[in-house]
């Protein structure tokens, strides 16, 4: 394993984040604060509690998920798309590194950034609501697994995309709607029965449900189902990544 190469990629990617703190860190924090103000205070003030949890506190796990899903996807997709776009991908292909090492470097950096933003948002939320974390180990596990899985998805999107527009397509048209409709701001039980059935097809529901359970022991589906769902998603992303590198799809001619 070429550890130095992994470290070089990881550090290079992290340096990009630190060069652009407004875009990388401040912007997601501000949008989360806005969500708190709008949903938590303005609207949430009129909703007493959901399944025994104050509405402001109830939406925290969903908001964290919303941010880390979009952040891990956009960081990883941009991270690998940019070298492709400007041509510097030649360096990765001609270096004595395996595709696994390239993935670890890029996905690791993107997941770290998303994780950091998740933690910052949690800390920010602490200023607005009384946060309780019933199962901290589970909470960290869900956070880390989600960051890695969606960073892998972002990496795949970055490889497959042929333009900046395509790069934005999945985060804007798929991830954001799925997160909003996956119970970020409500419990599935609040929906009419027919819509509940539809919602169970949304994979993000399982992530948010499991993550929320680690805070308040309140969930839409069993925590084990949530864990299996995230592991399944991780396995699917790993398989696609493995196939991309095996065939050189959109990387090598």
């Amino acid at each position: 394993m070429n550890m130095r190469a992994i470290w070089a990629i990881y550090r290079y990617e992290m340096a990009r984040t630190l060069r652009t703190p407004t875009q990388s860190i401040i912007s997601p924090v501000i949008s989360t604060v806005l969500y708190f103000v709008v949903f938590g205070s303005a609207i949430g003030g009129r909703i007493e509690s959901v399944e025994g949890v104050s509405y402001g506190a109830f939406i925290v796990p969903g908001l964290v998920m919303l941010s880390i899903l979009t952040q891990s996807v956009s960081n990883a997709s941009f991270g690998i798309y940019f070298p492709k776009f400007i041509g510097t991908v030649y360096e990765l292909l001609s270096a004595p590194i395996s595709f696994v090492e390239i993935v670890i470097g890029y996905v690791g950096a993107a997941a770290t950034k998303a994780l950091a933003i998740g933690v910052i948002i949690l800390l920010t939320a602490g200023f607005f609501v009384d946060l309780q974390i019933a199962h901290p180990v589970w909470m960290v596990a869900f956070l880390v697994l989600t960051c890695i899985s969606f960073a892998l998805l972002g990496f795949i999107i970055g490889i497959v995309s042929g333009s900046f527009e395509q790069l934005q397509l999945v985060p804007l048209l798929v991830i954001t709607p799925l997160v909003f409709l996956g119970g970020s701001f409500y419990s599935v039980s609040m929906l009419p029965e027919a819509w509940q059935a539809v919602t169970y097809f949304n994979p993000v529901l399982y992530l948010i449900s499991g993550f929320r359970w680690s805070f308040y022991e309140v969930s839409d589906v069993s925590v084990m189902v949530s864990l299996i769902a995230i592991l399944f998603f991780l396995a699917a992303c790993l398989t696609v990544t493995w196939w991309i590198f095996k065939t050189g799809y959109k990387i090598k001619s």
Binding site: R4, A5, A8, A15, I86, G87, T88, L93, S94
Partner: protein, 308 residues
Amino acid sequence: MAPIVDIKSLTKSYAKGPPALNAVSLQIEKGEILALLGPNGAGKTTLISIICGIVTPSSGTVTVGGHDILTDYRAARSMIGLVPQEVMLEPFETVINTVTFTRGLFGKKPDPALIERILKSLSLWDKRNSKVMALSGGMKRRVLIAKALSHEPSVLFLDEPTAGVDVELRKDMWRVVDELRESGVTIILTTHYIEEAEAIADRIGVISGGQILLVEDKATLMSRLGAKEMEIELHDPIDALPESLAGYNLSRSDDGTTLSYVYDTQAGRTGITRLLQDLSAAGLVVRDVQTRQSSLEDIFVGLVKEKT
């Protein structure tokens, strides 16, 4: 001694069009400078890209330092430095960071002293903390060279490194190439500038239509294919060649003041003495004589034309 780069029957075909490389075989010896000459689309960049791992070959094998580029790619690639044809650099990164990054990618431990030496030799040290996007085109090319040297390669590929750069950088690069050759680095250079190949290469390869037309020691190539031309300036212009000189391969300039005589330096007799005597016998007064060796460019153009 086994060649440091050994290319056997290398072919690259795409779904459409003729193959980019057609059964190319080429052996490159350790420590030599090989210049690959060829017109646009000849397959030069494809050949380099395959050896460096950027393009997958359709068939054939390549070993670098005895290591197969596919099955033992780590060992093979760690020996190779590549300066690509296009200027491809992360614009927002500083010079020193981007060069250090490349060394890391090749799995080498950080060596600030070496990076400093490389940047100084390429006159980049003063610009080390500048962002790449703030550099001129010539400076960006130097950064590409610095990146390729950052991991101390033993085989260096320079893919048209001086295309569109000023004379100063070209000379700087030739100096760097010279220093690298002295330290034992093998250099493979593709170029459009034939004088560049003529000036720095030990061997010349000519590639066209995805095939190697010839690989020859530069001096041998020049002498084997090199014809010489003698220009004879006459004191008084002539309207036509005298009958007595019809047996010579002579051509007259439009103004009638100069005669050109092409001869083979390898032939037993060049015919110069007899020609000069016959010129005198025909009553022509010679004012000046000069000879010119045909350049590599003439040879190259001739070869490619012959092929097509």
